[in-house]
């Protein structure tokens, strides 16, 4: 079957590739475009480790049809740091030791980024709700919650 062309903006750069008709966005990012920020966890929408922003909204890349991203803005953790300068959320995750094995971290960062863009001063409950679709099997939730709350108070946390 013929491959289909798809073009979108990935972390601020225009990218184009060809995909199988039923390809998901995660495969397209990782295998097609070499962005290894989002990870493949469950493939079922349960673990949240493939969370990316599509037009600013969090979506699970493993369940997103790649061709539905035509013309849209995709943001992953690969685009969060500005050169050597970490995004405030990334800095807060480091300061609070919020990455243990690190596998859930890209999803957690992206879920937190989506939260802070809409709600710059979230309550603890709102943070818990925002990462409720992300599983950390090291069960290190407390440092992650603390890091997100700390980043919310840091200058520049809303930087896109």
């Amino acid at each position: 079957m013929a491959k289909l062309p798809v073009q979108f903006r990935l972390n601020g750069s225009d990218r184009a590739t060809f995909v199988d008709p039923a390809s998901n966005l995660l495969d397209t990012l990782r295998r097609g475009l070499g962005d290894f920020g989002p990870k493949y966890g469950c493939g079922q929408g349960t673990c949240g480790v493939c969370t990316v922003l599509v037009d600013g909204e969090p979506q699970l890349a493993c369940l997103t049809l790649a061709v539905s991203c035509e013309g849209r803005q995709i943001e992953t953790t690969s685009g969060m740091a500005d050169g050597p300068n970490l995004h405030p959320l990334q800095g807060a995750f480091m300061d609070h030791f919020a990455a243990q094995c690190g596998f859930c971290t890209p999803g957690m960062l992206t879920a937190a980024r989506a939260l802070l863009a809409k709600n710059p001063q979230p309550s603890r409950d709102e943070v818990v709700e925002a990462i409720s679709g992300n599983i950390c099997r090291c069960t290190g939730y407390e440092p992650i919650i603390a890091a997100i709350l700390a980043a919310a108070n840091a200058p520049g946390a809303r930087r896109a």
Binding site: M1, L4, N24, V54, E57, L65, V67, L115, E129, A130
Partner: protein, 273 residues
């Protein structure tokens, strides 16, 4: 291999779905892409709809109509649909809610499909389009009982009357994982009070049968009664009528049957979970 058809109009999609048994609508992808990723779905045609009518919301009048492609996040962003927010928030985390649609929820196998439970308690109708004709309204309950047979066409929209007093619609999802987990069961109850008595109660369950179901026994037990201890006791006794819960990874059939009357009683008494 899977093919993909992108349809700019609802009738085009309905035509494909009616004519091809191997065609499957893909909405937000939270159900269909799971099967693709698992290798359970490898042949046929995925049908994608880009018609703006599929995501239209008409929420201001007494009759609410929501396109089947409306997402849980869109429901949560609408102040006029506040009475449905508890049910929409029960679906997944924020990323799932960006994607998951109310139309897709109608097809979610137990123990999923919690939003549909609330729609059942609202006595919703769905608009079903087969072939290139116009859509026809079907009671949600009839649609669900025929769901497993499949091939009914394209669900284009959901319609229901806005509850006169939104506080009379109650929703609870019982799960063992906090803050979010898959349903052990869910209950939606529309309990309009008139002169202190319940009139035309509508109660629905999720995960207590292969599809969401209405709890007719409970409705009969409550109708015309004040919500007092005696009525709640009668409702609890009738709670399991028509239930055929499954044993799955979340809970056993026995456990579901044991806790349903408990949670129904708490909901009716206005007690916390």
């Amino acid at each position: 291999m899977l093919d993909l058809r992108t349809c700019a109009s609802l009738s085009e999609a309905a035509g494909i779905l009616s004519g091809d048994r191997q065609a499957l609508l893909i909405g937000g992808g939270t159900l269909v892409m799971r099967d693709v990723n698992e290798g359970r779905l490898t042949e046929g045609t995925l049908v994608r709809v880009t018609d703006p009518a599929f995501r239209q919301m008409s929420t201001s009048g007494a009759r609410v109509e929501l396109g089947a492609g409306v997402s849980m996040a869109m429901v949560l962003a609408s102040r006029e649909l506040a009475f449905l927010h508890a049910a929409a928030r029960a679906i997944g985390g924020p990323a799932v809610r960006t994607m998951a649609t109310i139309g897709g929820n109608l097809f979610a196998a137990a123990p999923y499909g919690d939003f549909t439970v609330a729609l059942l308690a609202l006595d919703a109708q769905i608009v079903l389009q087969s072939g290139y004709g116009s859509g026809r309204a079907v009671p949600l309950e009839d649609f669900l009982s025929a769901r497993e047979r499949g091939g009914q066409g394209l669900v284009t929209a959901v319609q229901f009357a806005r509850p006169q007093n939104p506080a009379e619609l109650h929703f609870r999802k019982i799960s063992r994982v906090k803050p979010k987990g898959i349903s052990v069961l869910s209950i939606a109850a529309y309990l309009p009070l008139s002169g202190g008595r319940v009139t035309q109660a509508r109660v629905a369950y999720g995960a207590m049968a292969p599809t969401p179901i209405r709890a007719r026994g409970v409705e009969r037990a409550l109708d015309g009664k004040p919500l007092d201890q005696a009525a709640i006791q009668a409702a609890k006794q009738a709670a399991l009528e028509g239930c055929r819960p499954a044993t799955d990874a979340i809970a056993s059939e026995w456990y579901r049957r044991e806790i349903l009357p408990v949670h129904l009683g708490r909901l009716l008494a206005g007690e916390p979970r």
